[in-house]
Structure formats: C-alpha cells, structure tokens
Symmetry: D2
Amino acid sequence: MFTSKTTVRVRYAETDKMGVVYHGNYAQYLEIGRTDALRQIGLSYKSFEDSGIMMPVLSLNCKYLKSAYYDDELTIITTIKEMPKVRIHFHYEIFNPQNELITKAEVELVNIDMKTNRLTQSPVVLIEALAPYFKS
Amino acid sequence: MFTSKTTVRVRYAETDKMGVVYHGNYAQYLEIGRTDALRQIGLSYKSFEDSGIMMPVLSLNCKYLKSAYYDDELTIITTIKEMPKVRIHFHYEIFNPQNELITKAEVELVNIDMKTNRLTQSPVVLIEALAPYFKS
Amino acid sequence: MFTSKTTVRVRYAETDKMGVVYHGNYAQYLEIGRTDALRQIGLSYKSFEDSGIMMPVLSLNCKYLKSAYYDDELTIITTIKEMPKVRIHFHYEIFNPQNELITKAEVELVNIDMKTNRLTQSPVVLIEALAPYFKS
Amino acid sequence: MFTSKTTVRVRYAETDKMGVVYHGNYAQYLEIGRTDALRQIGLSYKSFEDSGIMMPVLSLNCKYLKSAYYDDELTIITTIKEMPKVRIHFHYEIFNPQNELITKAEVELVNIDMKTNRLTQSPVVLIEALAPYFKS
C-alpha cells in the first residue's frame, strides 16, 4: 500500500454562494493529491504524457461529510491499495485544519497509449517506483 | 418518475490539455441539469434558498464512458426516481451530439433549514410539483 | 461595425462566498459572447482551429460596475469595431436582467498558424463574413 | 512600495485544449498572489471579511506575453505601489520556470463596509502593516 500526504489552500474562486467550497471543485484537489503522490516517489504525471501514455479518468466518487471554507489549508491523503495494471485506483481522504475528515473519494484512471489510442499497461517507471510498497 | 432534458454547449474553458472536457467540470453540467429540471416544473432552486432551504451535495458519482469535445452540444437527461424526502437523488445520463451516452452520474442532495442549520423535509412546493409524476 | 447579442445563465459554481459571480469567471462569459457572435454569421471558432488557425488571447480588460447573481440571465453584447487583421478586438457590454450595464470588457486575440507557430492573417471566411458590416 | 513573491503550480484542470493555461484562470493566480502578499505581512483577507470589510474587484487588466504549461511552477510577484485608501491597486508580474515574464496584470479592489454596503477606508491593520514600506 502506498500513501502520501499533501496540502492545498482553498481559493476564494473555489467557494460558492453557500460560503463553502463548491462540491465540483474537489475533483481538482484529488488531481493535486495524485500528482503530488507521484512526485513524492520521483515521478511526474506530465512525464507519462510526454512519453506517450495518458490517463483519463474513468470514474469519480465523492462523499461530502463536512464543508471546507475559504483559506482553509486542507490535507489530502492519497492511497494506492493495489498495484496498478491497465487501471489505477486512487483512494482519498481530505481533512480540514481541525483534522476532521471532510471528504472521502475514489478515482479510477485508465492507461491509454496515445499513439494507438488503446488501453495499455501502467508505465514501467510507475510499477518500479511502487513495487517496494507492495512487497509481500 | 420525473425526467427532464436540457442541453449545454461545451466551453473552451472547460476543456483541458487532453483536448476534452475536464472530468471535474461535469459536476457543473449536472448542476445545470437539475436546475433546469426544476425550472421545467415551475420551480427554481434559487427560490428554495431565498425561502430558507439550501441543498448541499452529499455525494457525487460519475462514470465517464466517452469524451466530450469543445463546442459539442451535450444533452443532459435528469431523472428523479423516488419522491424526495430529507434527501433528493438525481440520476443523470449525458449524450453527445452523435447521441452516444458519454457519462452516467448520480448526485444526492440533502435539505438543510438555513435558520437552524438542521436537516429538514423537501420544500412543499417541490413535493406538490412532483406529485403528479409519482401517482401510483 | 458588427454587433451580436447572446445570453448566459449564471451557474451556482460561478458564484463565490460574496454571493456574486467571481470576477475571474467573466472571462468565460466573454468567450461565449465571441463564439456565439461568430456562430451568428455562420462561422465557428472550432472550425478555425480545425483548419489550422488558433487565436490565443493577448489581453483582457474588465471593468466590474455591478455584481451578477446566481441564476441571473445575463445579456452579452459583443462588438467588433474594426476589421480583423493579425489581431482581432472584441468589445463587450454585459447587462443584468434589470437591463443595467454590469461589466465592460475588451479582449484582444491574435491569429497563429498552428503549423508554423507564427502570426498570420485572420481566416478568409471570417473576413468575408464580416465584410458586409464594414462597408463604407 | 511593497513587493511579495509566491509560487503556484499549474493544475491539469487549468489547461485548455490549446495545451496551455486558459487565460481566464490567471485571475485565480492573481488572487493567490495578493492573498499571499497579505499573509507575508501577518494579515489575512479572510480576517478582513470576518471584521466586516469586503473587497470586491473593480477592474482586471491582463497582458499575456507567453503561455504557461501544465505542472509549471509559476512565480507571482505582487506589488503595491501606493498606500491603499478606499481603493487598493495590485500590480503583478508572473514568471515561468525559465524565469521569463509571461503575464503582466493589474487588479483594483475597493473596500466595502458589509454592514452599510458603502465604500470605506482600508482596514487600519492593513495601513499599519504597510506603513513601513511607504516611509519617505
């Protein structure tokens, strides 16, 4: 299992007239969570695209437990529970500054070879970087 | 069962470097779908808030089947399958201009009394407007 | 001079905690204004890109005179005052449902040949479609 | 004169199909720039609103000189050149990772007393915190 932690500060633009973060904006926080998770093991999603593999999102599931507010520094815990294959699952928990769990989410991505536009396996560098976390 | 249909045209701002609509932006399309569904039965979400009931989103589930492209006119089918109580479930199907199903989604909202900040029943006007669609 | 008129309804997502449309979101309304202006003379910005000309924004100037609110249907008046050359200027006025001028804006685009990545003249179809409006 | 420096990393969601940051999203970077500028002198915009003063944007001017790309870490230089009164002017320069100036911008805010909804002077704490930078 691989887990990483990153923080993001709520922008004014991300709030809505209810005074809280608009629910649709959490998708961006999750994107930041997984990008930063990769960066922490020396990888960049950008380099995957540069090398010809893109990873569109197949599904997004969010449960909103509490609201987040302007200027809050949120903590995003991103977890990969299974070794990625053609698909990669990310599990998320987002905490507010009071350390309360405010959002739980799952995002499923799929690897696409940009030349052939077909499904492909996860990049080798990703598999290698994650391997130490999945030793039995 | 109550079903409504609305259309939305993809904005340039909504695309990302993959050349398609960023997955997180569908939350806005779903919001448009349910707002327009209400409008078609003579109601406005705005009037609910003005009368003291707000409806934050509890959960969002999206399955992305195909991509949507800049300037596409998408068709959003919004369905209410059960009479709303404290919670309201919306089911969605989004179609591209070729009439292919590109996204399936569910959004669950909850009614909050803005004075007490507590759960409450759906507005009476909503129940009355939907009643004809749920006659047994 | 060429003038067109289009409408856009304010989305919940576009408001911020001040209860009004976030100022940065007007850029999207302006984009809708000019896209729709082109559509009204039989053109599509999408077709320009498909034919190899893209039009990035060089400058954006907005003056915010009054606020816009959730669910407001705004009217966008888009004006081209001079025949486009390498650059195209759009002038905008946005009105609220009470017909008050709420925003004035200018956007300047430039034509780029996507093959050479260099400046180029406006597409011929655009010049031809606009010609009748600039007869002296 | 008061100048501060902050960084922001480009999100995938902020790019568009041209492969670069959508021009309208720079408004959010500018917002981050001024929020962080205030934080660096011990203030928070949030506390201004909590104390009853809000600062809506009166005008936004952006010149786009070069594009910004996904995952770029941008540097935002935020400058206040004149002591704020009823209005506050922010001047901006944004640099890419190659240290090239990519955007110049100005944003003008105005102080509004949230109780009376009328113009008011800048918060005393802001004037005091800025005073050392404007000594003659």
